[in-house]
Every structure is written in structure tokens, then in C-alpha cells.
Subunit: 210 residues, 2 copies
């Protein structure tokens, strides 16, 4: 197909994909781009363009079939396969993530947890098997883990990322403020730093006041 989906489009479609799941749960059968726009905040134009980026799927006169569209997006975006993820850092944030049911409900299974403290590993309560951090590369490779979540202190992040990548991970979600430098540009990294987002929010607010 069109072998290059622009990034903003990818992000909106990922969001729409999850939104469609909610519409299915509500029992809705069809939606129009206008209706999706109202719920998502995305412009109706953009929604149609974005979807068309992946090919045609809507019934031209009436709207989209909700389940059909979800299936279509899932297939084209590669969201129909379950991904194996691991979590590094079993502190407060790690424990919140490990306990977050919506992750597995969305097709992401946390199949391993890592921490550098043996003590933590022994006291931490989880369904997933836990390993010491020095085994990251080995276990990621052995289990065949696709994605890594870093919830360690900032100082450990670069090192952890390198081990994850060495193990064969293809994507990393980084909760630390560290700016990870990667040798292998094929690995995608997304940052979710609370302070950075708060800073942006604060700047937007200040901007609006002046």
C-alpha cells in the first residue's frame, strides 16, 4: 500500500482505533466521520483522509461499519497481533503499570518484570515472572519480547535502553526524563515524562495569559 503513513496520521488512527473499541462496547453499529469528529475532537476532514491513507473501507453513502473499521485499522496498523512487553523498574510507578488491567485488555501482555534490587524482586507481587536487571538482554531475547517500558530512575535509563535493544526489543516507552541516545535508529522510542508534560502545559497556560 502507500508505504509511508505520516506520523500525525498514525497517531490519530491509533487513537481512533481505541475509540472504536469503546463504540463497539456501547453497541454502536455504524459511525460517520462527522460523528467520530464530535467524539474525538479531530476534524472530520482529517479522519477521512487518515482512514483513506490505508485504503478504502467506508460505504460511500452511509458511514463506516464500526467493527469493520476497527478490524481494518487493526490489520493495517498491525494492532491485531498481541505484543509481548516487559517492564523495567518495579517502584511505585512500575507497580501501578503492572497492575493496570487495561494494558492486557488492549493486547499488551507484560511477560516479564525487571529490577536491579533483589529485595524488590522478592517482595514484589505480580503474575509475570521477575528477573534481576542484569538478565534483561538475555531474557528479552529468550522470551521474544517486542516492547520495553522503562520506569526506573533517570540515571539508569540509558543503560537499560541499551540492554533492551541488545535483547532485540523494537520499541521503548520511556517514563524517565532521560533523552535516550540510540545507536540503532530502527528502534522507536516514545517518551512519557511527567515533568516535561507539566512544563509544556504550564508554558501553554502562561502563553494564553499574556
Amino acid at each position: 500500500m502507500d508505504h509511508k503513513i505520516p506520523n500525525p496520521t498514525l497517531e490519530r488512527l491509533s487513537m481512533l482505533y481505541r475509540l472504536l473499541e469503546q463504540l463497539i462496547a456501547r453497541g454502536e453499529k455504524t459511525v460517520s466521520s462527522t460523528r467520530l469528529a464530535a467524539v474525538s475532537g479531530i476534524a472530520a476532514h482529517s479522519i477521512r483522509k487518515d482512514i483513506n491513507c490505508l485504503g478504502e473501507v467506508g460505504a460511500v453513502g452511509s458511514g463506516y461499519d464500526v467493527a469493520g473499521l476497527r478490524g481494518f485499522l487493526g490489520e493495517r496498523l498491525g494492532l491485531d497481533v498481541k505484543r509481548k512487553a516487559c517492564l523495567v523498574g518495579l517502584g511505585r510507578l512500575g507497580s501501578a503499570i503492572m497492575a493496570y488491567e487495561r494494558l492486557s485488555a488492549s493486547g499488551f501482555e507484560i511477560v516479564a518484570g525487571f529490577d536491579s534490587s533483589i529485595n524488590r524482586l522478592e517482595t514484589f507481587h505480580s503474575n509475570a515472572p521477575l528477573f534481576p536487571a542484569f538478565e534483561i538482554t538475555e531474557q528479552v531475547h529468550r522470551i521474544g519480547i517486542d516492547l520495553g517500558i522503562i520506569a526506573t530512575p533517570q540515571s539508569a535509563a540509558q543503560d537499560i535502553a541499551e540492554r533492551l535493544i541488545a535483547g532485540g526489543v523494537q520499541g521503548i516507552l520511556n517514563f524517565t526524563p532521560a533523552l535516550i541516545r540510540r545507536g540503532d535508529a530502527r528502534v522507536s522510542i516514545i517518551d512519557m515524562d511527567l515533568v516535561r508534560e507539566m512544563t509544556i502545559l504550564s508554558a501553554k497556560v502562561a502563553q494564553k495569559q499574556s
Copy 2:
């Protein structure tokens, strides 16, 4: 000054602002845009353009004074004032956020916590005063809180957001997957949804493989 800072610029500058703090801590005195580019991953061109968006500050021949640039950005982006924030939802995630020292170290003070469960309020351990959720509007207004963090279940998010806004909050950081609809467009909302980001990451990975 230039009364419209483009959003990508605002985000990069916010990131640079935090980066500069780290450089100061390391004792660096001056930086060039090239060096900032190497550390941040942002193109040197963009860095110079972004900074210039706020006015001139660099010594043309040599680079930027680190502390001077930080001060400049802080002033122009409104990051030099401490912001009062509140946290709604004192579950696992809320407890991780409440315990996150880097927030206060960055000028964001959590001055109130809210939860709908009275039981939680009694057992939760925190320095900030805690209140039942039905008091949100009242307390936000009374204390003069600028920003709200929503770490509740998805089902409560819309309601909480409306109360926060009614209390006079100017920005919201939303950790739930809920797409908040706001009457007042002056309020900025940033979403930090784990599943959404994981979905985007997953789509990027799949995209790269095909």
C-alpha cells in the same frame, strides 16, 4: 513579543528548558546550538529558530550562556513562576505521582489531593492536604490552584475535569483514556494515556517491519 509561538516550538523549548537545568547541574557554562542538538536530538537549525522566536539572547560569535538562556526561556515561557497543582485520584498511579520528588524540584507543587473514597483519604500518606472529590471545585478555587492532574478511573474523568475547570484550573494533565470535552476552550488539556502511547509505539514498530 511575537504573539504566537507555534506548538512544536513550545514543546521543544520546554524540553530544552529542562535540559539546560541538567547542564547547569553538570557545571557547563556555555553551549552552542550544535551541542544542544547532539544532546537533545533536535536539529541545530530548529534550536536556533526556536530560541529566536522569543527574541535574541545568544552571543553571536560564541554560543549561549547556559544559565542566561535558561533564565531567558523561563521568563518568556512563564516557567519561572511556581505553579500550584492538585492531584485527583489516589490509587497506585496517584501515589506514584504524589511521591515523585522531581515534580516539586521542577517548580510544581502539589498542594492538594482528592479522592472519592473517604477510606482512601484516611489511609493515604502524604504531605499535601487531602479532600473528598466533591470538594474539588470549592478547594481549587479557595487555594488558587492552576493545574490539575487526573489519575482516576476513566469513568470519572469527564466529571472531574468539569469540576476542576469550574474551580478555575487553567490546565489539566489527563492520565485516563477519556477524551475530555471542554466547554471552555481556554483550558489546555494534555493527555498521557499509557495504552494510547503503547498503541502508537506498536503501530510504528509494525509499520517499520512491513
